[in-house]
Symmetry: C2
DNA sequence: TGTACATCAGTGAACGCGCGTTCACTGATGTAC
DNA sequence: TGTACATCAGTGAACGCGCGTTCACTGATGTAC
């Protein structure tokens, strides 16, 4: 009986070249930003001619979309993995997120940075983004819900659709949202260098914001 | 006696063309993002040849730097003006900031979006950024300092240099910092469209985050 | 007020570049009998 | 195991494009006497 999943040598080779192309693409993005990404430059680095890449990607746009997809996938997997480690809590997610961002800032910005006007991500990418939110919701749902309700909660109660049936109480949704926006706020300013001349340690500020989020002490 | 500030017709004309160039540049950025900005395209829109622009700007980089400077200047002035209106408080600053960002999202991202690796803003631009922080510090210094101190405060106490001698208590510095990072967090995700399919009203979430910042109610 | 000269905005041609992408092809690898 | 054929990775030439930038120039505007 033949395993339909088994890869022929040719398939393995194709897959390998595709990842080599992406590796070089990430290098370029890290060095000069996503707008500088060039198919011809990648081909040159791989020692092949430009047109050869069209065996692997339909064009520049398809490659970029795949990079965005991989970035989201990587983030979603990283957070899921962190949440599954024994004793994992909201703080563990926050630290995993920061580590992931610092690992490759331009990868972070490819997802959360300046949007290209008119661009809309395909549905499967949006789905991965929902996975990320679901991981956050799981973590906050497991937390004791203390503190008074927010004025925002009533509004959110009527717009929980995006939580996609997640059983978490509305207050947990609100806290997961704040987790995302606040940590993104610090993180993106740090990565963009806006704290550079300021002297304080961004990691400590991040930790303080996290403390306030978890209720482990007011900031 | 001659007023040395008086502008000759030629100077007035030059100034006018320079702003027309920038107006077109902002249009391009709003439409296709800053990386798509093209001197030749601007010249065409103005009905002149490409090289003509070199009478007004040394090159593409100088133009972009000037756009960044103008953006910062506009933000600093907007916030200062808001803070000087009678009865102005921290909330007024927050609303002015949000309105400014929504007015031209790509202008916001030119300052706070994806950084270009290796680019460093000239000193005079950094100085305008400090003006913005100073306005925030003024507003928070005027607020009664309630709530317990943060674990971060001790660290910040030793790194207040960036506040440039501002008399605000350290807790006010911390709160101004959180004001900036949290509001930037929501705002940038909203502008980038990350809330798009989620259903809730970003303005309400923004307001709720603001409430928690001012202590007008826990979020 | 009129003339001579200097200043300066804008042009058109040109340079060199790298981009994404297409096309017809060569030659190696894999498949079927 | 050997031969005939199909598949497919990669090449090199070419297309058209728009970019930033330089250069020598024309012609209009302003200045000095």
């Amino acid at each position: 009986m033949v395993n339909p999943e088994a890869k022929t040598p040719r398939e393995r080779y194709r897959a390998q070249v595709r990842t080599e192309i992406k590796d070089r693409a990430w290098e370029q993005i890290a060095t000069a930003g996503a707008s500088a990404l060039s198919l011809n430059a990648i081909a040159k680095q791989l020692g092949m001619s430009g047109p050869a890449l069209y065996r692997y990607y339909a064009g520049r746009d398809e490659l970029i979309t795949e990079l965005v997809r991989d970035a989201y996938r990587s983030l979603a997997d990283t957070l899921r993995a962190a949440s599954r480690r024994p004793g994992a809590d909201v703080a563990a997610l926050a630290h995993a997120m920061r580590a992931w961002a610092l690992e490759d800032p331009q990868r972070y910005f490819l997802i959360f940075g300046t949007p290209v006007p008119g661009y809309h991500a395909p549905d499967d990418i949006t789905a991965i983004a929902s996975e990320v939110m679901a991981t956050l919701l799981d973590a906050f749902a497991a937390l004791p819900q203390k503190g008074p309700a927010s004025s925002f909660d009533a509004h959110l109660e009527e717009h929980r659709d995006w939580a996609d049936g997640h059983p978490a109480p509305t207050a947990a949704l609100r806290r997961a949202l704040a987790f995302w926006t606040r940590l993104h706020g610090t993180l993106s300013l740090e990565l963009a260098g806006h704290f550079d001349g300021m002297g304080f340690d961004p990691a400590r500020f991040y930790a303080a914001e996290l403390d306030e989020l978890t209720g482990d002490g007011p900031m």
